[in-house]
């Protein structure tokens, strides 16, 4: 009981982080397109498409975590997103690019690389824990009930 309450709180914290980040980015897709472009990984056109799409994906996944609707789908999307973002951030650092991640709009503009990395790893760890918890729950529900 206490355990599931704690996991629910983790759900809410992660949902709040992604909804907040999504809303900030959705308010300024033009800036986000430039932030994506700074990574020098994708062509500009694709970056613009992502700038319009990714914030809403984060918002919908955050809402899915709160309402437990399409829960596992949301967890898997968010996990993949954070992993891709982590790889892109490390790749940019290795190539010596001076990037602002744009993850939390202008609020994250002055964050250092270790701060980005620490936050992403913490989010990834929380997502992985929720995935594990969700799988364990699904297994428990699928377990045949013993009749005497």
């Amino acid at each position: 009981m206490v355990k599931s309450f704690i996991w629910r709180i983790v759900d809410f914290i992660l949902a709040a982080v992604f909804i907040y980040a999504g809303v900030l980015k959705a308010l300024d897709p033009v800036q986000l397109a430039h932030d994506v472009d700074h990574y020098k990984i994708l062509p500009w056109t694709i970056g613009v498409g992502l700038a319009f799409y990714l914030p809403w994906l984060e918002i919908f996944c955050g809402l899915a975590l709160i309402f437990r609707l399409f829960y596992r789908g949301a967890l898997s999307i968010l996990t993949v997103l954070v992993m891709i973002f982590l790889v892109a951030t490390i790749a940019a650092k290795v190539r010596g690019l001076d990037i602002t991640c744009g993850c939390f709009g202008h609020a994250s503009q002055n964050w250092s690389f270790p701060t980005h990395l620490a936050l992403d790893l913490a989010i990834l760890a929380a997502l992985a824990a929720l995935c594990y918890c969700s799988m364990a729950r699904a297994r428990a529900n699928a377990w045949p009930t013993r009749t005497p």
Binding site: P29, V30, T45, A74
Partner: protein, 142 residues
């Protein structure tokens, strides 16, 4: 409602597409899908030519490229020697003149960066990036 993981992910991905498309339509005038430069800050070769003497041309490419060839009358101003070249450019500029910055092609970033610095650091109004850059200029010349 029980959906497989993949189906759940697909539904969420599809749902997110709807507001994304709406927003893309709403912002269509504020961002170009072709280039990072907004349409209001771009100028075509023909338009820039019509400005004739009321415009100053800036070549944002590296020195070697400028030395090889450049738009006649253009002044070299690149980020490698910014502090050295900026005073030379400012001496040639006068209020009311439009500034046309170009680099090698549509895909290069140098012109955009130089134009941005001219607006922010030198506080110049009317700074435009040449659509298609040097390549477009050569094509029009033929």
């Amino acid at each position: 409602m029980k959906f497989s993981l993949a189906r759940q992910a697909l539904i969420l991905a599809a749902l997110s597409l709807l507001p994304g498309v709406g927003q893309a339509i709403y912002f269509r005038d504020k961002i170009s899908w072709r280039s990072p430069i907004p349409p209001s800050e771009m100028v075509s070769v023909n338009q820039a030519r019509e400005w004739a003497d009321s415009a100053i041309w800036i070549d944002a490419r590296p020195d070697e490229d400028f030395a090889r060839n450049h738009v006649s009358g253009a002044i070299s101003l690149n980020e490698d020697r910014w502090n050295e070249l900026l005073p030379q450019f400012l001496a040639a500029w006068s209020p009311g003149k439009k500034v046309v910055v170009y680099c090698s092609a549509q895909s290069c970033d140098l012109a955009r960066e130089v134009a941005e610095r001219l607006r922010k650091e030198a506080q110049l109004p009317d700074v435009f990036v040449l659509d298609g850059g040097w390549e477009a200029w050569l094509k029009q010349k033929r």
